[in-house]
């Protein structure tokens, strides 16, 4: 719990990892390239005093994670989002099983999500069911740019992906976290396009689709599908740390999202260990738009409380402690009528 100026903030970190990119675990140049790229993200956006040496960043231990999140980082509940990358790392980068070790040790501190890959067909479907039953998962993290043998990615509209989503619905796995990356099949298409999420969200209105990194680099696609689909959410991992290096841009991103999607569908995440929640939470609670940025919905204390934890508490049925109270600020399309947008404005969102 974070407290500032008499206000209490229940903090749910919606996207974090316990990864292993140690040299022993790296399979090939792509695995090395992946962690190096992550490390550049970490260095580029963190305050200097929070930058780790590369060796620590490759593989950190349990004590470090527990301290950074729960002792120093104000996090009440953290959500593991597994990222397998078995083609890059011998044991996987961050699997359900790796995360389960901490979940079993600290059951109240973590929500354990799992993952699926529709290219694994019938076997993968059985494996998904087994994992969900074993770990009682309520969410999955999907990475559509994941490589698998010759394949460089998949879409949520692929026939097997539909079967897996049907299985999620059947098993009560209601939170589908979608993370787009640089590759997909076919490679000539924009890999970051969210049109498949749009379609899946229409097909499965009872599932919640949390688009990780708020669709960045396609903020426009994120907002476009956010207007169309009430069950689409924006996960703020990667967007949050801009608050330090590029506060004006951070205000634009959050302002646009609040305008188009509203305060009830945005969720906080640090993406630990990419970044540490401590400084992000502190800066976000203090954040105000730059004075010239006066065209966006207000970022009030209530809105911040919703983003930092209450929205995810709702999606994951987490118990919110007494004393965390909020007002409804009335943002978002359900509340405020938005101007009609010409269909062509969506440009990328509907290229299929």
């Amino acid at each position: 719990m974070y407290e500032k100026d008499g206000e209490k903030y229940f903090v749910v970190d919606g996207h974090m990892h316990f990864w292993d990119a140690s040299e022993e675990n790296i399979k090939n140049k792509y695995g090395e390239g992946f962690i190096r790229c992550f490390y550049d993200y970490h260095k580029a956006l963190s305050p200097e005093e929070y930058v780790w040496p590369l060796e620590k960043y490759r593989k950190y231990d349990e004590a470090t994670l527990m301290k950074d999140l729960f002792e120093d980082g104000y996090v009440d509940v953290a959500i593991f989002q597994p990222t397998y990358l078995k083609d890059f790392y011998h044991k996987g980068f961050n699997t359900t099983e790796q995360d389960a070790v901490l979940k079993e040790k600290y059951p109240d501190k973590f929500v354990l999500n799992t993952s699926f890959d529709p290219r694994l067909g019938e076997g993968g479907l059985e494996d998904l069911e087994a994992k969900v039953r074993k770990y009682n998962c309520k969410g999955v993290k999907l990475y559509t740019a994941e490589w698998h043998d010759a394949s460089k990615g998949w879409k949520l509209t692929d026939p097997w992906a539909i079967k897996y989503l049907e299985k999620c619905q059947e098993l009560g796995v209601t939170n589908i976290h979608v993370h787009k990356g640089p590759t997909i099949w076919p490679l000539n298409r924009d890999a970051f396009d969210l049109a498949d999420v749009d379609d899946a969200a229409s097909t499965f209105p009872e599932l919640n689709f949390i688009v990780e990194h708020v669709g960045l680099p396609r903020l426009e696609d994120m907002c476009w599908i956010g207007i169309q689909e009430p069950n689409v959410y924006g996960g703020l991992a990667v967007a949050m740390p801009f608050i330090h290096t590029r506060p004006k841009y951070f205000g634009q991103v959050v302002g646009e999202l609040l305008y188009w999607m509203g305060e009830d569908r945005l969720t906080f995440a640090s993406d630990y260990a990419l970044w540490q929640p401590k400084w992000i939470v502190e800066m976000f609670v203090d954040y105000q738009y730059p004075p010239e940025q006066n065209e966006y919905p207000d970022l009030t204390t209530s809105v911040k409380k919703k983003i930092l934890g209450l929205n995810l508490a709702r999606l994951y049925d987490l118990k919110v402690p007494e004393g965390v109270t909020v007002a409804d600020e009335g943002t978002g399309p359900e509340v405020t009528q938005k101007p009609a947008i010409p269909q062509e404005a969506s440009i990328g969102g509907h290229s299929e």
Binding site: A150, R246, Y249, E256, I347
Partner: protein
């Protein structure tokens, strides 16, 4: 980097380094709508006689391969058009698909042939899609300046291209319109959709709001890419500074 020289036995004018850089300056990152030279993506140039080699670098190892291929292919085309250049080579450094892209460009293969089995078409549709996004963002930049100066939404809907005073922003906007084959005559409406049609008054506010979002997106990505490039290559500038 090697300065322009001529080697014995060859005729023709020496290749000017400035001309090569100028040519590369016309090549844009299709996603960020800025030139490779301004973005810092040109890592080095080697000019030997009538042969030019340009090294390109990108903000991450994982930048999308389709955009990377387009930039490398466009750079190759631009280099070959420089007076005096007979042989050009583009080398994309430090990228997960460097081998596929460099070989593909050197052998003048199509994108599909360069990424066999991984693509089902060429990149024309992708390029057009991002030209459309860029157009909307450029239009918003012009319109924002007008709105800040007091122009109302109704007035915007009536403005023609010829009503605007010359400016670098207008020039860029006209160039982007022309690339998409849209009307650039002085009588053409200023605010149009990506097919060049005027926006009906009842949709104008929505169009402009969405255009603002598109601009925030593209400019934000460009800023982020600059920062990542600076981090990756330890560049003094540009850095991810306060924005």
């Amino acid at each position: 980097m090697t300065e322009a020289t001529t080697t014995g036995g060859l005729t023709g004018p020496p290749v000017a380094r400035s001309a090569v850089l100028e040519a590369l300056g016309t090549v844009r990152d299709p996603e960020l709508d800025e030139s490779l030279t301004k973005l810092g993506f040109v890592a080095g140039l080697e000019i030997e006689g009538d042969t030019v080699r340009a090294h390109l670098r990108l903000p991450t190892y994982w930048c999308a391969p389709n955009f990377a291929y387009l930039m490398a292919a466009d750079a190759d085309t631009a280099l070959r058009a420089v007076p005096g250049v007979r042989r050009a080579e583009v080398v994309l450094d430090d990228h997960f698909a460097s081998d596929e892209i460099n070989t593909g460009i050197a052998q003048r293969r199509s994108f599909q042939a360069s990424f066999e089995g991984l693509a089902d078409d060429e990149l024309d549709e992708l390029r057009t899609l991002f030209r459309r996004k860029a157009l909307v963002a450029r239009q918003q930049r012009l319109v924002k300046a007008l709105v800040d100066a007091g122009t109302t939404t109704e007035e915007l809907g009536r403005l023609r291209l010829g009503d605007l005073p010359p400016s670098p922003e207008l020039e860029t906007y006209l160039q982007r319109r022309a690339e998409l084959g849209l009307d650039v005559s002085p009588e053409a409406p200023l605010v149009v959709d990506t097919d060049g049609n005027p926006i009906p008054p009842e949709l104008l506010e929505g169009h402009l709001r969405f255009a603002r979002l598109t601009r925030v997106s593209i400019e934000g990505n460009a800023g982020f890419c600059r920062g990542m490039l600076a981090t990756r290559y330890d560049l003094a500038t540009p850095t991810v500074g306060p924005d």
